[in-house]
């Protein structure tokens, strides 16, 4: 339990590592040894995270065992507990809400499994600083969701640290690279255990900054800096949404405390519906930018300009899930704001589903292996957001968990391929690599099967849960989302098979001799591949495990990660698993693979259709041009703001101002002639001359005062001040 209350140590260690590497890396530690500092720091953090996970599971077990009694009795206890802890977290200097253990709640709502609630562990210091009468606290909020993310972030980060030691060896900014990997890990860990919204913003922005720095790691080349700037600016757009959302939440609840806000939404319900709707829309903009949702996803594929391990760590497994995590963390807000569960469509579900669809579509037309994976990430993040949109909290977090492993494996595999094939990512220059790189090939295929959702790999279980969530919904089903999900399942399997074909099958089309990567790269790949197989076991549905008599191991993510203390209050239910839906999902994935297999291996199907058929070609171009979204932003949106204004200004200049000036000029000329003859020569001339000489004389007189000496000016200043003071004090 100690670790849960002192969780601040977890982000602190990589932060210290960042400072140490940045300040002492080159001079004292030595370029060839800095990676050890980074790996050691993240390794310690990984161990701490595992201890935290065990501590958290123990805590859940304790609260379940001690309090799962009479339902009615428990319900009362919960209500008391809510009000008590709600008020107690608002005062006191340093106190741990942890002392107050969880209250049992055999949830009586239909369809829910009725787990006991487990209170989150909150350690905080009130009065970190205050401004304008608002006290800002600082602290950590540890619950199941945090622990889940701790495991994901530290595991992936540790493997990426190890892998990078070989991948970026000899890089001109090796020290800098490791420093920022550490800082990124620290900021993400800080973000996931943020106790209040202000800390959350800080973590969010830090993550964005690290992403900017690491995308632009090779900034000597123009496209890389462009990509970094694009990522940063696109994220800024969303950050405005985050700020607005946080301000609305603060305005409504008068606190930044995440725990209190979640509880208050649960208690107040529809009273604050409108405010929550506004906040949700604003926060959704932030999610769109950070988690690459339509229409702000365009930065993510460009962000592949960074080193590949960075892509694996930041743009696949951890940073981009920050948006998903934020929705999960503030789920009651979104649940109330978007009225999840009461209608068959809402903004979040639609954005998620639509993103999943267009991301999968885009992945077909890419030749850059990393961009295929990037669009696949966009698509899978869309899946998670869609799951949250349909009320399947657990499914989204479970998918986040499994996806992190197999996507990191795919990215690192792509890095390994590029490492072997002369640093190209173009699949047209690969092919046949399965013979040269057996380890990379095997791990890549395993992860592909996981991503495609083939039984029994991890992706199958999480994807199935999302489809189930869309199918069963909360109070009403989400048929449109189910269709999106099924189509995407088919497409995912197909485009990943395409990648395998171009990269590992056929004849080698590149130059030189490809070779397998060294052990330091393949071992992380194998670890991730194993996780891609077994990660699904963490949330197996009960009927599957009943076969083996292991019911107690069912729904581990749901049991331990779900923040029941918030979700029970809003009445979230869990659908029963459905066998035939799982079969449909599996059949779709297999069909996708089969289509791709027939197309590439057996060479059947409409090859060259895009050359022959006008419509097919148009469609392909449409996808190849990324639905023209980049054009929309740079040419149409910016252009329509820039050009018409320039044109209007020009027109105004040409027509209106010129006309006025010309007319005025003509009039002035005519008038001038008249004035010149009658008035000017006669009377004015003499007057003006007199004024001129007068001004000259005055100027000569005043010139004496302009001595150029500072002290004379000072005398004038203080003298004037004195005179003004005399006027104010004595006269007025």
């Amino acid at each position: 339990m100690w670790i849960l209350e002192n969780a601040f140590l977890i982000p602190l260690i990589p932060a210290v590592s960042f400072v140490v590497i940045l300040l002492f890396g080159r001079k004292y530690i030595g370029v060839e040894r800095v990676q050890k500092v980074g790996i050691a720091a993240v390794g310690i953090v990984w161990v701490l995270s595992m201890i935290a996970a065990v501590a958290w599971i123990t805590r859940v077990e304790d609260s379940t065992a001690s309090k799962s009694g009479d339902a009615e009795h428990a319900q009362i206890a919960v209500n008391e507990g809510l009000s008590a802890s709600g008020s107690s977290t608002l005062d006191g200097d340093l106190h741990l809400a942890a002392e107050d253990d969880g209250h049992g709640d055999a949830n009586s709502k239909d369809g829910s499994y009725g787990y006991a609630t487990t209170e989150p562990v909150i350690s905080k210091v009130d009065g970190w600083w205050s401004s304008g009468g608002i006290d800002f606290a600082v602290g950590t909020l540890v619950d199941g969701q945090t622990v889940l993310l701790l495991i994901v972030v530290t595991s992936i980060s540790l493997l990426v640290h190890i892998y990078s030691a070989e991948y970026v060896k000899g890089d001109r900014r090796f020290v800098h690279y490791y420093a920022f990997l550490s800082l990124f890990t620290a900021s993400m860990l800080f973000f996931v255990m943020a106790q209040n919204l202000v800390q959350m913003i800080v973590g969010w922005e830090l993550v964005g900054v690290c992403s900017f720095v690491l995308i632009g790691h090779w900034w000597e080349e123009r496209p890389n800096t462009d990509a970094a700037v694009k990522a940063f600016l696109t994220n800024r757009v969303g950050d405005i949404g985050l700020l607005v959302g946080v301000i609305i939440l603060f305005g409504t609840f008068k606190t930044f405390d995440i725990d209190s806000i979640n509880r208050m939404v649960g208690e107040m319900g529809s009273e604050v519906h409108f405010a929550m709707l506004m906040a949700s829309i604003a926060l959704m903009a932030a999610v769109c930018s950070k988690s690459g949702q339509f229409p702000l996803h365009t930065w993510l594929p460009d962000a592949m300009a960074g080193p590949t391990p960075v892509s694996a760590l930041i743009h696949a497994a951890t940073m981009v899930v920050a948006g998903v995590f934020m929705i999960g963390r503030l789920y009651p807000v979104f649940f109330e704001g978007f009225s999840i569960g009461t209608s068959s469509i809402n903004l979040m579900a639609f954005i998620g589903g639509f993103t999943a669809l267009i991301g999968a579509g885009l992945a077909f037309a890419q030749w850059d292996i990393k961009k295929v994976l990037a669009y696949s990430t966009v698509s899978q993040l869309g899946y998670m957001v869609m799951a949250l949109g349909v009320g399947a909290w657990t499914a989204a977090m479970f998918h986040l968990f499994t996806h992190a492993f197999f996507k990191a494996c795919l990215f690192l595999g792509a890095g390994s391929v590029s490492h072997a094939a002369h640093h190209t990512f173009d699949m047209r220059e690969m092919g046949g690599l399965r013979k040269y790189m057996p380890h990379t090939y095997k791990t890549f295929v395993i992860s592909t099967l996981a991503l495609a959702g083939i039984f029994p790999f991890a992706g199958f279980w999480s994807k199935d849960e999302i489809l189930l969530g869309a199918f069963a919904g909360q109070q009403s089903a989400y048929p449109l989302m189910l269709i999106f999900g099924c189509v995407v399942a088919l497409m995912t399997a197909a485009y990943m098979t395409r990648v395998i074909w171009y990269t590992f099958w056929g004849e080698y089309r590149g130059h030189g001799h490809p070779h397998e990567s060294p052990k330091v790269m393949t071992v992380p790949l194998w670890i991730l591949a194993v996780m891609a197989v077994v990660a699904g076991a963490f949330n197996l549905p009960t009927p599957v495990l009943e076969v083996f008599g292991l019911e107690s191991l069912a729904h581990l993510v749901q049991t331990y990660a779900e923040p029941t203390h918030y979700l029970n209050a809003i009445g979230l239910s869990h659908p029963d698993p459905s066998l035939w839906l799982a079969l449909v999902g599996l059949a779709l994935a297999l069909a996708g693979m089969a289509i791709a297999f027939m197309y590439f291996w057996r060479n059947t199907g409409p090859h060259g259709l895009t050359e022959r058929n006008r419509y097919a070609k148009a469609g392909y171009t449409f996808i190849e041009q990324k639905y023209y979204l980049d054009h929309l932003y740079t040419d149409i949106v910016i252009g329509s703001i820039k050009k018409p204004i320039a044109r209007a200004a020009n027109w105004f200049n040409d027509n209106v101002i010129d006309l006025v000036v010309n007319r005025a000029g003509e009039g002035a000329r005519d008038g001038g002639r008249w004035v010149y003859r009658r008035i000017d020569q006669g009377t004015i001339d003499t007057t003006v001359n007199a004024l001129g000489s007068g001004a000259d004389a005055g100027g000569q007189g005043l010139r004496v005062m302009q001595t150029g000496r500072v002290q004379n000016y000072g005398s004038l200043l203080f003298g004037t001040a004195a005179v003004v003071a005399i006027v104010f004090v004595i006269v007025l």
């Binding site: 010139r703 302009q706 001595t707 150029g708 000496r709 500072v710 002290q711 000072g714 005398s715 203080f718």
Partner: protein, 99 residues
């Protein structure tokens, strides 16, 4: 003790500082006189802080001390630069802005 005894002391020191800033030729002396003025203000702040029973007066005085330290640092750097370029720090010899 009267409030005014401190305020009047501050006022006198301020006036003396003003005279020093305006009359002394040496750049370092001008800076010293500025310190005198700042200190006079500090005395006022602390005195008023006591009068109104608030700690803010002392906090402000603290900030002024910090700002004064920064000002002396930059000011002396400028004086040094002047000396290096013109071999003199007599402020009335610099009249490039003469009209």
């Amino acid at each position: 003790m009267l409030l005014n005894q401190f305020l009047l002391l501050g006022a006198l020191l301020f006036a003396v500082g003003v005279y020093g800033v305006l009359a002394r030729r040496n750049g370092v002396m001008v800076l010293m006189s500025i310190e005198l003025m700042l200190n006079a203000v500090n005395l006022n702040l602390v005195a008023f802080g006591v009068q109104h029973d608030v700690v803010s007066g002392q906090v402000f005085a603290l900030f002024i001390i910090a700002v004064a330290a920064a000002e002396v640092g930059v000011g002396l750097a400028i004086v040094l630069l002047l000396y290096r370029n013109r071999k003199s720090i007599a402020v009335d010899e610099f009249d490039l802005m003469k009209g």
